[in-house]
């Protein structure tokens, strides 16, 4: 790989605008994510973090601006969505495991039907992914038999099985009891250590500070500050100052 491609950001958002009906939710959001970098979006409820994340995976279409992910121009209406989704994994607050399938089947579904991998290979893949999130013994369990933290880790394993180049996390611990939060965060931290490119929305400030290569503070649909985790300690804007004082 030559230097030019290596230094090209994996994710680019440039002047992204998004409205729901009359309500403008994103006002010119711009940031970049380098390969292997962890970007954490923070901000108050309703500040547009989820919307920004969903735009990256084209779960929402933007009104203006430019988004590129792994070389796919997300804002191009002619984009082949399946190609984008092969490179991007996303995990939601509500896990969204398929309740009628076992954990193993949940994980094998996409590798089998989308990538047409042979069965034996997907079984091995699923087992490996479950090991990775510490659920090696839950292959045959149904989602409803697992705790919230286990379900969320299974959902992460399901995404990982598609071997995405980028992972997006939207408040993946917000539905969990505090004692289950840690096990999920640990999985994400291991991914970060393994060099996965990630964008994470979270309200866990200590986690954010620990894991972020780049912290992005959003407020009312705009980015007010971005930089290393240290921006939390020396906020430049009163908005971040107030937010940091409340959250830390």
């Amino acid at each position: 790989m030559n230097n030019a491609t290596e230094n090209k950001p994996v994710i680019v958002l440039r002047d992204v605008e998004k409205s729901f009906g009359q309500v403008k939710v994103l006002h010119g959001v711009s940031f970049e994510v380098q390969r292997g970098q962890v970007t954490v979006l923070i901000g108050r409820s309703g500040s547009g973090k989820s919307t920004a994340l969903r735009c990256i995976d084209r779960l929402e279409t933007v009104n203006a601006g430019y988004i590129e992910v792994c070389g796919h121009v997300v804002t191009d209406p002619a984009l082949e969505l399946r190609k984008l989704r092969l490179d991007v994994g996303i995990v939601f607050q509500s896990y969204n495991l398929f309740p009628h399938l076992t954990i193993g089947q949940n994980i094998m579904l996409a590798p089998r039907s989308v990538k047409n991998l042979p069965k034996t290979e997907t079984v091995e893949l699923a087992r490996a992914c479950l090991e990775q999130v510490g659920l090696g013994d839950k292959f045959d369990a149904y989602p409803e038999q697992l705790s919230g933290g286990q379900q969320q880790r299974a959902a992460i394993a399901r995404s990982l099985a598609m071997q995405p180049k980028v992972m997006l996390f939207d408040e993946v611990t917000s539905a969990l009891d505090p004692e289950l939060t840690g096990e999920v965060l640990k999985v994400i931290e291991r991914l970060a250590a393994g060099g996965m490119t990630m964008v994470i929305v979270t309200h866990e400030m200590n986690f954010a500070r620990r894991i972020a290569d780049q912290l992005v503070f959003m407020h009312q649909g705009k980015i007010w500050e971005k930089g290393p985790g240290a921006i939390l300690d020396a906020p430049q804007t009163p908005e971040l100052q107030r937010f940091a004082a409340q959250e830390l």
Partner: protein
């Protein structure tokens, strides 16, 4: 000479009941296929497809089943499509069941949370894969008690096929009564047989519903 109601009549009624079951099964299979197609069309992203299915449902629900039966039995031959009474009744019932199950199953498909669609979409599954591997299996679970319950309606409504000279349980009762003039005992016997066909399905439907409700509470 008027013979009174006896074993031979019961036997004749049971033969009619077999035809009632056959027609019900045909109606359920034909109507089930039709219903699935209509339900999928109803949630299509294409406006014309959606609207066509909606119009079909409205139209059929606005026509008495008996008129559909007449249309099948007398109408089809008149336009050059020869049909047996069983064929005519099956076609009419298919049209009718398809509309009701289509509407009911559309609701079951839409009751699967949107987040399930989204999760499947984010795993790069195609629309067909999302539908058949993620959404339909969950909708089937939700729809089973109601569908079993609707089978009772199907069985009862096959009695209208007696009007197009299909010898089902009802028609068998009419024929017996025409020969022995004992309407009370004859039609009570017919009623009892219908009840015995329908009651187990009603019980099963209610049981499934309760089991589902318990499952929900647990989840």
């Amino acid at each position: 000479m008027v013979s009174s109601f006896g074993t031979i009549h019961i036997q004749f009624l049971l033969e009619g009941a077999v035809w009632t079951i056959i027609l019900s099964a045909c109606a359920f299979i034909g109507g089930g296929v039709m219903g699935l197609i209509i339900a999928l069309m109803r949630i299509s992203p294409v406006w014309t497809v959606r609207t066509f299915a909606a119009a079909y449902i409205q139209l059929v629900q606005g026509i008495p089943l008996l008129v559909l039966m007449f249309t099948g039995f007398f109408g089809l031959p008149a336009i050059g499509v020869p049909v047996s009474p069983l064929m005519a009744a099956t076609i009419s019932m298919t049209v009718w069941v398809g509309a009701y199950l289509g509407e009911f199953w559309r609701g079951s498909l839409e009751a699967v949370p949107k987040s399930q669609w989204e999760a499947a979409e984010c795993l790069a599954l195609s629309r067909a894969q999302r539908m058949f591997k993620v959404i339909i299996p969950q909708a089937v679970r939700n729809a089973t008690p109601g569908t079993v319950g609707f089978m009772v309606q199907i069985i009862k409504n096959t009695s209208l096929a007696s009007a197009v000279s299909f010898v089902d349980l009802t028609r068998a009762g009419q024929l017996i009564n025409n020969s022995i003039f004992e309407p009370f005992i004859t039609f009570v016997a017919v009623a009892v047989i219908y009840f015995l066909l329908c009651f187990p399905l009603s019980v099963l439907s209610r049981r499934l519903e309760r089991r589902m409700a318990r499952g929900m509470a647990k989840a």
